[in-house]
Symmetry: none
DNA sequence: CATGAATGAGGTTTCATTCAT
DNA sequence: AATGAATGAAACCTCATTCAT
């Protein structure tokens, strides 16, 4: 009696193990949802369709997101953060990149998330979904404008703010066209028109 | 059958009278649907909401349209036909309008259907609804391109087809921006950038 | 041509016909719901169970009630209105009924809605359902108290208000006991104790 | 199996130590559940809400209780046992307490578990939850009745059984009123009416 | 041509419970 | 003993569409 004995006991998973599992599930849900939202549209994609495609129970989604719209919002946020990060990484601090490089880095960034870009834009036009995408487009737009303005200041262009606004507006048009037609000739035409114009103006 | 019927002395209406009645009902349904679709989105607008707003019974819609999606498609078609017609009316055959006039006629046309334009574009981005809008945008685009090309030929510009394509692409960007931001400064900036560029090029 | 012809046309149902149909459906839904709520409790009774028992599609309920809780509230209101009406009908204006008659009319009223009374009381104790029942019990209680006070004033009892409050409280206890034990000996004991006491006090 | 295990040198805890740990967990679960059930109702309180409030994992509950309903039943039983014990402790064997003291001890007992009393009563009215509460109320009632009867026998009252039943019924009404209105004026009115009546009768 | 009650399939969401660790 | 991710059944509810009149 009172002898020390060896015994096998179950150890609950550690915090890290749980974190890993959660991250994996969360990730597959978002990935699958993005895929289906993009392919079929937000409204036409049901939770159960996502669950089926992801190979999980429908209820599981609600362990990670407050609801369908929250899932969408989280996807949008993540994608826009990715985009901003990507663009920043493309542009060197020194030497100052010229305007063509800036534009192309931006377009390349969008191209890197081609599949989801169309979804993001479509959400922006749907009054019944949310304003999140619109806000993110706004943030992205502002971010671009600041880069353009900084560039124009360095180049000594007069009215740098107004010029930056104009360029931002044109780029905005390109963004939308891109969503509509993919990496088509149309987008390249727009790009070339813009860049040629700017170069002709000596910028 | 135990059907509630009534024997009536039936004074035949002329085909025209019938058509008039039908056209009136059809029209109010489409008008109301367009209004609600634009305000709240296609998916968020229910048939009964349309019926209520239009002051008719929900079932009546099915006398005129195959279903909700058919209603949408018919609206889209009508709006695009309206737009094409409008633009054509704005442009005189003689004297040959210059490119600025052509562009502005187009923008004015879109402005005349401002409220529904955003809906049309949003539909274009929703793969689950229909490809009709995309097709119509395509037709519109082609129509514009032909006008541009004709103009360029007359003006003796070289590569008229390619130039027309470029212009069409830029206009496409403007159309989309317009849907996104309404008649904002952004759209005017785009328009001015385009026209200025073209004029500087001597077109 | 242009000859008058006889023809059979369908006539839509009249407003009255629709009203009749609606009233019938509404009634069967409420009746069935009351039955099941009383038998199994509010939370344990699902909409689909009600629909099945009533022989209708589950969705139909939502043509008549905003939701499950609204259905409950409407039932409660109706039952309490019935009760108040019943009690009033039992009591003659002249000659002034004595206190025993008043009490018995009230108890008889509750007895007439025996099956639902338990449900009403149970709802009153469920913090997660609604305060409607509590409010209705309050209204009923106040109504009774006014009757008692009026009686005591006529009889020339001193402190009629306080006496009415005391009697109301005792009756309240009886109401609750009734809900708990049905028309058992317990309730009659309570009733007799109350009436005997009052009579012994010469009221 | 790919089970995460650990070989441990197992220092056996004494049965008492184990019991202590178990009792502590069991106790916090019951306490928390009672609190939430009382505040929000049984159906509106989820297992995970209890777990969160108690600071434990949801699954742990199932080590101690068969399920949610079992947890409820165990809580009810414990509370009623507490109540019976409390009332007994309040009443001295000698000298024989008079009827007012007996009544007040009972009411004081209920007052000591004020917060849970309403829950217990509410459960009593919910046929879908369990009959346990009803049974316990029955047991409590019987217990009281025996005390009353014993008292009446000692006092030499004629028909002690019937008198005890009557008093028990009145007390039952008070219990329920108490649940409904808390320690309000209404309950005191009931109590005073009862005691005054009994004293006037010389009991 | 017009009505609106009724259907029924499908949607989102909740949550008690299980189970590998 | 304890963890919490995952399940799956069932809940409430919406709404396009049908159909008897």
């Amino acid at each position: 009696m009172n002898v020390q004995t060896k015994e096998v006991v179950y150890i609950p998973k550690s915090k890290e193990q749980f974190e890993e599992i959660r991250e994996k599930s969360r990730s597959i849900i978002m990935k699958t949802a993005l895929k289906l939202f993009s392919a079929n549209g937000y409204h036409a994609t049901s939770i159960s369709a996502i669950a089926k495609e992801a190979g999980i129970a429908a209820g599981l989604m609600y362990n990670y997101f407050k609801g369908k719209e929250d899932l969408l919002v989280k996807i949008i946020e993540e994608r826009f953060l990715d985009l901003n990060r990507y663009i920043s990484e493309q542009l060197p601090d020194e030497p100052i990149p010229d305007i063509g490089e800036i534009i192309d880095a931006t377009l390349k960034g969008i191209d890197s998330m081609k599949d989801s870009w169309k979804l993001l834009i479509s959400i922006m036009f749907q009054p019944d979904v949310s304003q999140i995408a619109t806000e993110w487009i706004g943030k992205l737009s502002l971010h671009q404008q600041e880069i353009y303005e900084k560039y124009y200041v360095i180049k000594g262009i007069k009215n740098p703010k107004e010029s930056a606004q104009a360029l931002s507006a044109v780029m905005h048009g390109i963004f939308l066209s891109y969503a509509h037609s993919g990496d088509s000739a149309e987008v390249r035409l727009l790009r070339n028109t813009v860049i040629k114009t700017l170069i002709e103006k000596g910028i």
